[in-house]
Structure formats: C-alpha cells, structure tokens
Symmetry: C2
Subunit: 342 residues, 2 copies
C-alpha cells in the first residue's frame, strides 16, 4: 500500500526523502556535478530508479533559462514544405547536426512575414535558439528574434541589412559557372528562368548569370521569373520562347524549374541539347531522373542545414569569434542536357 492512488509524477523532493538526502544533493547527482560522496550518489541513483523519477523540464528551465530545444522555422505553409526535396534535405541536415547533445527539435511552419504567432512563441522562452529557413522579402523575423536576445541562424541569405548570421550556398559563383558553361559550348541566345524576386536565392542566381553573360559580351535580357515549381518553369519557358524563338541555351534557377522547362521544350519540338542546352540548379534527385539528365549546379542542401545547426549550437555553447556567415561552395556538374554527342 505504499503506492499513492494518483499516478502523480514523483518530484525531486520525494527522491530526496527516499534517498535520505537533501534536495540539493539530488540535484547535484542529476546534473552530474562534482562534490557528492559515492554513498550519497548511489542512494540517489537507486531512489531515482525505484521511483522512475524524471526531472520536470518546466521547473528546470524556469530557473536555468534553458530549454534544451531549438526550433526549425520554415516560413512556408505546411503543405508546401513536405515533399519538397529542399526542405527534406535541410531537415535532414539539422537533424544530423543536433545529434551530439540531447537537444530536441521543434518544427514550426507558417509564413512568418504575415503571421507573428511563430515569433511570439519563439520569444516566449520556449527554445534556446532557432534555425530559420525560406524567408521571403524583408521578413522582420530575424531582427525581432535578435532583439529579443534569441540566437538565430538563417539558412539562405536574408534580404535587407539585418546583421543576423546566415549560411548559404555560393549561388552567385554557381550561376556564373552555369552561364560560362553555356557560352563555352557555343550558345549565344542564352535565357534564364530566375527564381522568386523576393528571395535572395532568386536574386543571387540571377546576378551570377548576368555577370557570366556580360563578361561574354552577351546581353542579359532574356529573363523570366518563376516560383520553385515545375508548372512555373513550364510557363516561364513558354514565355521565353515567345519572346525569342531562337533561344539556344537556358539556365533554370532550380532543377524543379528545369523539369518544367524541359516539358515545354519537348512540347514545342525543341531537341535538348541539340537545339537548346539546359542547365539546372541544385543537383537534386530530379537532375538524374529527367531525359536527358540535367547539367546542374550542385549544392549540398543537407550541409546547409548541418552548418546552420552547428553555428547555432556553437553560439549556444558560448563560443566566440564565430564567423558571421558561411558560404558553402557550389560546383557545376555536366550531364547530357548540355552535352552534344559527337
């Protein structure tokens, strides 16, 4: 009859009583602090096991001001997030980056530029820090979090002049290489299907392509923007062909966009790469599943997530002299969509 009728969770107090020590001592054992006799430690360990004691996190973090969890914030509607290989990759990277400590991951979704319930939650002391992905326009979220004293790392360069650290792929260099490659294989009417205008990823890839065009003495005038979808890519390609039927090269700001472009090119009777050479971006699973396989700019999405998480955790550990931001290398991978067989 020693069992209480209620299945109330045992507290540190009860552990102390069972072990015959003070609360302080129990706390020291739990937190693995020095200065506890072997005898006391054993008694406490035994009591914990007997009572199946688990520390109450709320009480703990009320005093330590630590929650041992970090948030991954994806500024998109939930349904757009899942199934997109980009987010899957980032999530995998974040997940891998956390493995060391026994921190937990809180996943939050929703357009943070138009709804501030996410910001409120984050400022409520619920998490120790946040990795933020897919910011749109001049989203005030990073600044707001920084002002609230919450450590943040952004995946993908944020727009505006907020000084929050970020991790990004070197989109500019990759796109420059893509443009140069199209020039090198002899293309002269080269277009680009750029990404969203309100995201740095769209802007930077466009800038790199422009630079490649300019240095080759070509006019960077064939530009159409698209969202990251096959449908968008298909429509953009159609518009480009309307504007100039003689296009012989296209750089798409994402493989998924390139997939749509390929569809339109096939519909309009253009051979790839003979008539039009196509370069994508990401080297995602899509790049090798198209016919022909896509020449593309490789970036490691998973590494993006892993680096951001590493940066965040390092900051939480109190490390100083951390790089304000990190740029991961990109690399051109040449495949059949730009390769004319002899």
């Amino acid at each position: 009859m020693t069992e209480s009728d209620e299945r109330a969770a045992p507290t540190l107090e009860e552990v102390a009583r069972v072990a015959g020590v003070s609360r302080s001592t129990v706390s020291r054992v739990i937190n693995d602090m020095p200065g506890v006799s072997k005898r006391a430690k054993e008694a406490v360990t035994e009591a914990i096991a007997a009572l199946r004691y688990v520390p109450n996190q709320a009480a703990r973090s009320l005093v330590t001001r630590r929650t041992n969890s970090i948030a991954l914030v994806v500024s998109e509607q939930g349904d757009r997030v899942f199934g997109d290989p980009f987010f899957a990759g980032v999530l995998r990277g974040v997940s891998a980056g956390m493995s060391a400590g026994h921190r937990q991951l809180v996943l939050m979704m929703g357009r943070t530029d138009v709804d501030d319930s996410v910001a409120n939650y984050l400022c409520g002391g619920h998490v120790d820090g946040a990795v933020v992905v897919s910011l749109h326009g001049h989203d005030p979220l990073p600044k707001r979090l920084a002002d609230a004293g919450l450590p943040v790392v952004v995946v993908g360069r944020p727009l505006g002049d907020t000084a929050v650290p970020y991790v990004d792929s070197d989109n500019m260099s990759g796109s420059l290489q893509a443009a140069r490659h199209l020039v090198e294989i002899g293309r002269r009417r080269i277009a680009t299907i750029a990404g969203p205008e309100d995201m740095a990823v769209g802007i930077d890839r466009l800038t790199g392509w422009r630079r490649g065009m300019t240095e080759a003495g070509l006019k960077p005038d064939l530009v159409v923007h698209s969202d990251f979808s096959g449908k968008g890519g298909a429509a953009a390609m159609a518009e480009l062909l309307d504007r100039d039927p003689d296009i012989d090269g296209v750089f798409a700001a994402a493989d998924i966009i390139a997939v749509g472009a390929l569809r339109t090119l096939a519909d309009k009777g253009r051979r790839v790469p003979e008539d039009v050479a196509v370069v994508g971006h990401d080297d995602s699973i899509l790049a090798t599943s198209t016919t022909p396989a896509l020449t593309t700019v490789r970036q490691s999405v998973e590494e993006l997530g892993r680096s951001a998480t590493w940066r965040l955790l390092a900051q939480l550990e109190g490390e100083t002299h951390l790089p304000p931001s990190v740029l991961l290398p990109t690399e051109l991978v040449v495949r059949a969509s730009t390769l004319i067989r002899p």
Copy 2:
C-alpha cells in the same frame, strides 16, 4: 534612461506595475478570463504592448501542467525518415490536424525500442501528448508513456496487447482485395512480397493476401519478406522467381517495393502485365510514375496523421467516449500493371 541596460525579458510583475494593477489582474487579461473591468483591461493591454511582454512558458506550464505542444515521434533513424513519402504524408496530416489551436509540434526521431532518450524526454512533462509512428516489434514505448499518464495515439497498429489507441489503414481488407483482383484476372501462381515481419503493417497485409489466396483455393506459399525499399523489393522478386519461375502475379506490400519488383521482372525478361501482373500498396506518387503504372491499394497517409492528431487533441480537450482506435478504409485502384489490353 528608462531603459534597463540588460535586455532582460519583462515579467508579468513589471506589466502589473506599469499598468497599475496586481499580477492577478494581468494574468486574467492574458488568459482572457472574465471578471476584469474594461479600464483595467485596457491599461494591461497597453502595458503589454509597451513592454513587448511575452509570457514565460516555463513558468506557466510549471503551474498549469500544460505545455501546449505535442510530439510527433518517428521510431526510425533520422536519415530514413526524410524523403520517404510515407512520413512526409503523416507529417503533413499531423501538421494539418494541429492547425486549429496554437499548439506547437515537437518532432522526435530515433529507434525508441533500443534508445530511451525519447521516452525520458516525453515523460519529462515537455509535451502534452504524443503521436507515435513506425513502431517496430514489441516496442514498450506506448505502454511506458501510458503508464506515465501521457496521452498517446499510435499511427499503425502496435504489436502486442497494449491498450493504447491507434489509427491505421484497413490493411487486411486492402490486401484481400488485391489478392482477389489477381485471382479474378486469371492468375494462379500468385506470390507476395510482404513487408517487415516485425511490424503490424507487414503482418496485416500478408494476412489479407493469405485469406484471398485461401478462399480461391490457392496455396499461399510464395512469400518473401522485404523492408520498405526498392532494393529490398528487387531482391525479393528475384528470390521468388528462383523459387518458382512460373509466377504470374505478385502483390507487393508497398509501391516502393513494387518498383523494385518491376525492375527485376524487366531484367528477367518478364512482361508486365502479360507474363506477371503486379499490384502495389499505398497509391503513392510512385504508383503513377512507373511503366506500366501500378495497380495498387490506396490508403490516405495524410488522413492517418490527421486522424491521429484529431484523436489526441480531442483527448487532451477532455472529450470522452472517444473510439479506442480508428481504421481508415482502403481501396483498390486498377491500372496498367494488371490490365491486359485487348
């Protein structure tokens, strides 16, 4: 100089002082409780805005014993989770199911049958409840959580006799239909590539197929197990053909397994459906991307996640008379892989 040098978060105490009321009153306003004069309410609202006050969640949940967050536990290694359309679907469903309240989702991964850090966390009062997916074998997690008083809903029937509520697709009926369909189109040497033996989903789909075979007077002896991967499916199909080269029908316990089986059948020169008819399970994105398109048992993975979440939240709201478990319907979708064109 009214600003403090430290950017310490304002507390309820300070809000009370600024608003000229007691802490109780501020608390009432924050929690939208009745019995506050309009005047007091306004003063508090103003003070909250001025101080940019956000309630401290730890303090709040220490007393209310509520965290306003629920966990989605996936008992798999992180890298296996992302990119698998099944988990993406469940996650989408859970996410959709939570939209109502402003609860947060904590995503946890790791084999809970061999590592109890997840269980410890969940018992630490960090979340109000949990949706658990992809349980293997006789994982003690559900029982442990139930014992700790944490509301749990499992996606996919758990093995063993734990009385936790679960949501599952009607795997048995779907598989029975698959077997009957193969019989109806005249197949006689029908094999199955079953799922993992240590998961109910594997067992139930095998049981359904067996029943279909038996009722047709066929011997249910051509069985090989596989994990949920294309590679596994390919190997299993090869083994089946070794055991009986005259196989003319196959039911694969998942589309991804069927994809592997199709590859092996092509390699061995078997035409689908002429020589071997193939039925998959799930009606995932894969089913319509193969050649030929797959006849398959449709289940709504997203609905699985949504229902489980609904059940959990209803329980948290104190609703009674909730169904102990829910079985969602499955349906056979006939496509080219079992359809012989005249």
